[in-house]
Amino acid sequence: MTVSALEVRGLTVQYEGLRAIDSISMTVPKGGRYGIVGPNGAGKTTLFNAMTGFAPIAAGSVTLGGADVTTRHPAVRARMGLARTFQITHLMPTLSTFENVMLGSLSMTGESRSWWRSRSSAKLSVANTSSVIEMLDLTAVADTRVAELSYGDQRRIEIAVAMATRPEVLLLDEPAAGLSAAERESIVELLLNVPDSLTTVVIEHDLEVVFALAETVTVLDGGREVMTGTGDEIRNDAHIKEIYLGAE
């Protein structure tokens, strides 16, 4: 049997007594497209934080390509191929787009340790960076400081930086949040075109986006798994509708 790219078992995170997420389990096969939806405060981002090691895990386990990483440092998980984007843009504002993406590349190629040769001579990373920038069509803003860019561009860079690490598994935290319809279009477009080998898990508030991007979808509410199924199953479930109506 093939090892799943990402496997989560009974994952639980506790903040002063209250359970932010409560024994969540999910299995994502290699190259799988997974979605997580749920109203605000459902625990979606906390789930990501727990997977990537930014939130303390009270119980459960996280397995990456067959290797248990539950107790590993976030940086180690990242180097093992677990990349993520952040819901609230987390970029290096004073650095240019190129430099931001370059940081992702350097981490992947291991050239980030070189302290003597100039950045430009980190050939692998430069090449990788250029290609990622091209792929996300950021060439125009490559040399601009991120702080000076539009929100739309920043969301793209957010993804670009994560992609630059050539991850096995990519966790996308509301990639389309706060974007105009057009921008949303292009992001979805872009995410549909990621290489098949790449496993993605996307959190979205906007159901349509999720259904477009994910084969399997888990619905969270109050930190608990409500149901898991295909887009259509979810779409036609009365209970889900009610949660969402409640939320909106």
Binding site: T52, F54, H73, P74, A75, V76, A78, R79, A83, R84, F86, H90, L91, M92, P93, T94, L95, E99, N100, M102, L103, G104, L106, S107, M108, E111, S112, R113, S114, W115, W116, R117, S118, R119, S120, S121, A122, S125, V161, A162, T165
Partner: protein, 320 residues
């Protein structure tokens, strides 16, 4: 692209060459003063690696400068070790100390880091002041021999000055290489987005510790050199006001620009020494200078230029 790196390296050499010419126009006093100023300037540049790139504002940098200075002084005067050997031992020793404390200190940032470095500096200062005959207490240590180099060039002010220019150029060169390397970029990344860098697979604290150690080591090298120039070392070199001086140089010069802090360090040293000679009001003037510096050029000398640049680019944008 590599050509620009090459140009940068060249420019350091050219700069060094120009500075090396100074003795042709300057008298002994100014040569001596400039020697000291260059040393302090280079320390500021090293500190910029920590503050500007690492984002860690240290108020105890003088500790490392003074630690290796004292080490060299004690080894040469009390153990009669050859100056160069003593210098080597002190620098390595200081680097080890820095590397040992770095992992703990760099867990803090902002005010926490400022305070812990301040406290560390005070401990070192206290040990020097109360160190009895070993450190000479507040009397410090006199008659520190200079190394005997090719034809004893260091025995004359001019010879020592030229050697200093070479050393400082070398230090700046290395610092600037580090700053513009992938490692340097990762420091900027950590400064700007610690969490993101972790998510990208960077061990933030390790890198912070490394840059802390590098900055401390550069200070140590220059501290040892300073003691050779000065041939005296006293506790005031370890005072936290000294550290504040280095910090001021970095801020006035402009963080993460390296040359700015260097230039500011040089100019401030000259200014302070001249002021001290001219007026007993010098602490007042210095104080006013601190305040004005923060209010007028909070982003340092470099910002002036970059502001102009951005203005220009805006203008260009309009034309399109």
């Amino acid at each position: 692209m590599t050509s620009t790196g090459f140009q940068r390296d060249i420019s350091v050499l050219v700069g060094g060459a120009v500075l090396a010419m100074a003795p042709l126009v300057l008298g002994d006093y100014w040569i001596g003063l400039l020697t000291q100023a260059l040393i302090y300037g280079a320390v500021a540049a090293g500190l910029d690696l920590l503050i500007g790139f690492g984002g860690l504002p240290s108020l105890g940098h003088a500790a490392f400068f003074g630690m290796s200075a004292y080490g060299t002084a004690m080894l040469t005067t009390q153990a009669n070790i050859d100056p160069l050997a003593a210098a080597l031992i002190s620098v390595v020793g200081t680097a080890i100390v820095a590397a040992a404390v770095a992992p703990f200190f760099t867990r803090l940032w902002g005010l926490g880091f400022i305070t812990v470095t301040l406290a560390f500096g005070q401990v070192i200062w206290g040990l020097a002041v109360r160190g009895g005959s070993r450190t000479g207490g507040e009397n410090g240590i006199v008659r520190i021999p200079r190394p005997k180099l090719i034809a004893d060039v260091l025995s004359t002010e001019t010879g020592f000055y030229v050697a200093t220019v070479v050393l400082v150029a070398a230090v700046l060169f290395v610092i600037s290489r580090i700053a513009h390397s992938p490692f340097g970029l990762s420091l900027l990344g950590i400064r700007d987005g610690e969490q993101r860098m972790t998510a990208l697979g960077y061990r933030v604290n390790v890198r912070r510790s490394v840059v802390f150690t590098i900055a401390a080591t550069s200070a140590a090298i220059l501290g040892t050199w300073f003691v050779f120039f000065n041939q005296f070392i006293g506790p005031s070199t370890l005072e936290w006001k000294q550290s504040a001086g280095f910090l001021l140089a970095v801020v006035i010069g402009g963080r993460a620009s390296l040359w700015g802090p260097f230039a500011a360090g040089v100019l401030l040293t000259l200014l302070e020494t001249v002021l001290t000679g001219e007026t007993t009001l010098w602490p007042m003037v210095l104080g006013i200078f601190y305040v004005i510096a923060v209010l007028v050029i909070p982003d340092g000398i470099v910002s002036i230029r970059s502001q102009l640049v951005s203005l220009v680019s805006v203008a260009r944008g309009d034309q399109k």
